[in-house]
């Protein structure tokens, strides 16, 4: 056992994803010392690009990102899983994937950068469902913009295409031009349905931005943008490091130490890969370690003073697990060729199902027509049908140009029974328990998915589709949230509206784990906005105390 007693900073951050690295960057540029502890290794983009090209199962988003023995992450979305053990009636619907390495899971996000709607923060008040957040849209609006500037988000002019989230400033970059396939889809929806297709806000460059190039449409946003035109957390790491933040990789935090009164955190302890233990002290601590790992760390830190886990006097740590569980269908369009996969992956959305009085009955959702290169899929499908030679080649061209994939992000609700606990039987190489999640899909979400299936059937009919392949059941969208839920009442929530834990004055959480409801869009921009608000709070307290 080695011990490094010297590591200390004003603020100690656990996790180097978009939340942790952006807080580090903000603080260090304000003259505040920062140490960031990252469980996984330091990595670089080209390594992942090469891994992707050599990957046989190209749609495996985790495939290019192998984990380390000391910081395992789920290898895939297969149940049973080697790391994230899911149980319950809808275990497969919660088989999330994420990454434990420098930069975090945004290495393989699709760059979809939605602001939530004002109503998303007031679901209980407006629709008598779920909970209200302890923060309102207008509180977060300046931080949404700050996050958009930090990432480099492109989006439509609200005077032309209002996405429903009021803006004080325009998007930092013009909207991404729609692909030919998306243009055709947009026209079809406009002419034959009461709905609309909008430009999806994207954290990818439509002009050179922040030292990164304009998107060239490699169609590989997930799992890895090969040129860095799409933002990921590593860029905030690089900025923070350049300004003087210290990042320690392969540092697996396993204990959160508090003072005698159990009111303040005094240190965190981490293992290096050889299980040498190190103690890091600070004035403030931020856990920004992904929804699942954050809850796991709080639970694994249980001791005599906090027998159910740190920051867990409410018994809500690990509960209220949510996701945008989705519906997916692939079919062959009978109309003109679309050739999806020319350009970025996700550029267009039907947004008519984000809000309405019906949210009192079922969850909201987004519909994506995925712009995914279908050549490999077409090839496998045509071979399975029995084609060979020239006939196979003609089938590949036809199927690749006519395959359409639709999927949805459907809203969940917080349910305390949907709970993350520590595995009693599975441990990692350092002896830390794996996470387990019990999941039963809320009826609110089930009804939402049923509504989505009806819409998808209508769309398939409009496109004269055949060969429908519905993904069985419900599939996870890797937007886990809720495990350290936000609220005004310390009896039923873990953090307050500033993401400060109710139990410990100097412990903050920056993660989707604080979400009170899961909202109606991809989670990352809201994670970043909340994180930047945490940074703002810390700056005020440290610089003006």
């Amino acid at each position: 056992m080695s011990s490094d007693q010297n590591l200390s900073a004003d603020v100690v951050i656990v996790g180097s994803g978009v939340a942790g690295s952006s807080i580090a960057n903000e603080l260090v540029r304000a003259g505040i010392s920062v140490v960031v502890l990252e469980a996984g290794p330091r990595v670089d983009r080209q390594h992942f690009v090469e891994n992707f090209r050599n990957l046989e199962n190209k749609p495996s988003y985790q495939g290019p990102f192998p984990s380390t023995p000391w910081a395992p992450h789920p290898p895939n979305q297969i149940t049973p899983n080697k790391y994230l053990h899911t149980t319950g009636p809808n275990a497969e619907a919660y088989q999330q994937v994420y990454l434990r390495m420098m930069g975090g899971t945004t290495w393989h996000w699709a760059g979809c950068a939605w602001r939530y709607l004002p109503s998303d923060f007031e679901l209980k008040t407006r629709y008598d469902q779920g909970r209200d957040w302890a923060v309102k849209y207008e509180d977060l609006e300046p931080f949404y913009y700050q996050a958009e500037v930090m990432m480099g988000v492109c989006g439509p002019d609200p005077k032309v295409e209002d996405l429903g989230s009021p803006r004080a400033q325009p998007y930092p970059m013009d909207a991404l031009p729609l692909s030919y396939a998306a243009q055709q889809f947009r026209q079809l929806i406009a002419e034959q349905t009461p709905w609309r297709v909008v430009h999806e806000p994207q954290a990818r460059n439509t002009r050179p931005y922040d030292g990164r190039p304009t998107c060239e449409g490699h169609n590989n946003c997930m799992p890895i943008c090969p040129i860095g035109a799409m933002y990921n957390g590593s860029y905030s790491v690089y900025h923070a490091e350049a300004a003087g933040a210290k990042f320690v990789t392969n540092a697996v935090v396993y204990k959160i130490e508090r003072d005698e009164a159990n009111k303040k955190v005094t240190a965190v302890h981490y293992y290096d890969p050889d299980k040498g233990s190190h103690r890091v002290t600070g004035k403030y601590f931020v856990i920004a370690a992904h929804c699942i790992e954050t809850a796991k760390l709080l639970l694994v830190s249980a001791d005599e003073k906090s027998p159910t886990g740190v920051a867990n006097s409410s018994d809500q740590v690990g509960r209220n697990m949510m996701d945008h569980t989705g519906v997916q269908v692939t079919f062959i369009s009978g109309d003109k060729s679309l050739w999806p996969g020319r350009g970025p992956l996700e550029t267009n959305v039907i947004d008519n199902f984000r809000d309405g009085d019906w949210r009192g009955e079922h969850g909201a959702y987004l519909v994506h027509m995925v712009d995914d290169n279908q050549v490999d899929f077409a090839t496998q499908l045509a071979i399975s049908k029995g084609y060979v030679g020239k006939d196979l080649e003609e089938q590949i061209r036809y199927l690749a140009s006519h395959t359409v994939r639709l999927f949805s992000h459907n809203e969940a609700l917080p349910d305390p029974d949907n709970r993350l606990t520590l595995s009693k039987t599975n441990k990692d190489a350092l002896g830390i328990p794996h996470p387990e999640v019990y999941y039963k899909l809320p009826e609110y979400t089930v009804r939402s998915c049923e509504h989505t299936r009806g819409v998808f059937k209508q769309l398939i009919g409009l496109m004269h589709g055949t060969d429908e392949e519905w993904t069985p059941g419900y599939f996870p969208q890797d937007h886990p949230s809720g495990s350290t839920i936000m609220g005004t009442d310390p009896k039923n929530s873990v953090v307050d509206g500033h993401c400060r834990t109710h139990d410990h004055d100097n412990l903050f959480i920056a993660s989707s784990s604080v979400f009170s409801t899961v909202g109606t869009g991809n989670i990352t921009l809201t994670v970043a906005a909340l994180a930047l608000r945490v940074a703002d709070t810390l700056k005020k307290e440290l610089l003006h105390a």
Binding site: S60, N76, T206, G217, H218, F377, K385, V388, Y398
Partner: protein, 205 residues
């Protein structure tokens, strides 16, 4: 996709990235060396010779594999280095494939089929087990995969047959916003399957 005035792609060699790579296919790529093995290097020589299927190898099994492959793809030219790597991968994955490929070669020689479809039908009629052998060949050449490993990515034939419309992921070269233009129209094919259908299994993510 951005094209210049005469309708061809801009840039090097007036071709898509796939075609550029194909034109360089005789250059011994590191991955090919690793996967095809030293014996195959000796058989084909380094950087020389023709890309004709026949007449470049001293390994009769690989030569037969190349003949079968040309018939099954209805092509006269296939890359022998890729072929050697695919053959080695296929027989490593399923050792019985070595004898099965030899039998398939004999069927081809005795039936003298004029098309891939004729050979596939004759083979499956002779033994339903040949369907899996032919699948391995098709997956090898069109997906660039054998033994569950990527032998080639950008030069897999599935990208060759779609290169007028779309780039392999991570290899786009049309410049920003190329994707806004109209890609080529593809009419519904009239050809029929030569083999009986198999379950289509999508690999989990």
């Amino acid at each position: 996709m951005t094209r210049n005035g005469n309708g061809s792609f801009p840039g090097h060699l007036n071709a898509s990235p796939n075609a550029i790579r194909t034109s360089q296919s005789l250059r011994l790529m590191r991955r090919d060396v690793l996967l095809s093995g030293f014996g195959a290097i000796l058989a084909y020589g380094i950087g020389g010779g023709s890309s004709e299927a026949a007449g470049v190898t001293t390994d009769p099994n690989i030569a037969q594999f190349m003949d079968i492959s040309c018939r099954m793809t209805d092509r006269q030219h296939l890359d022998p280095q890729v072929g050697a790597a695919l053959y080695n991968g296929i027989i490593h994955s399923v050792p019985e494939r070595k004898a099965q490929l030899s039998k398939l070669y004999n069927i081809m020689k005795s039936n003298n089929p004029g098309t891939s479809a004729e050979l596939a039908k004759a083979a499956e009629q002779a033994d339903p087990g040949f369907k899996d052998v032919i699948h391995d060949i098709m997956i090898g050449w069109y997906r660039g995969v054998a033994d569950g490993k990527v032998v080639v990515y950008r030069t897999a034939l599935m990208f060759d047959v779609t290169k007028d419309a779309i780039y392999p992921k991570t290899y786009a070269a049309g410049g920003p916003f190329y994707w806004t233009t109209q890609p080529p129209e593809v009419e519904r094919p009239t050809g029929q399957p030569a083999l009986s259908a198999s379950p289509f299994v999508v690999e989990p993510t």
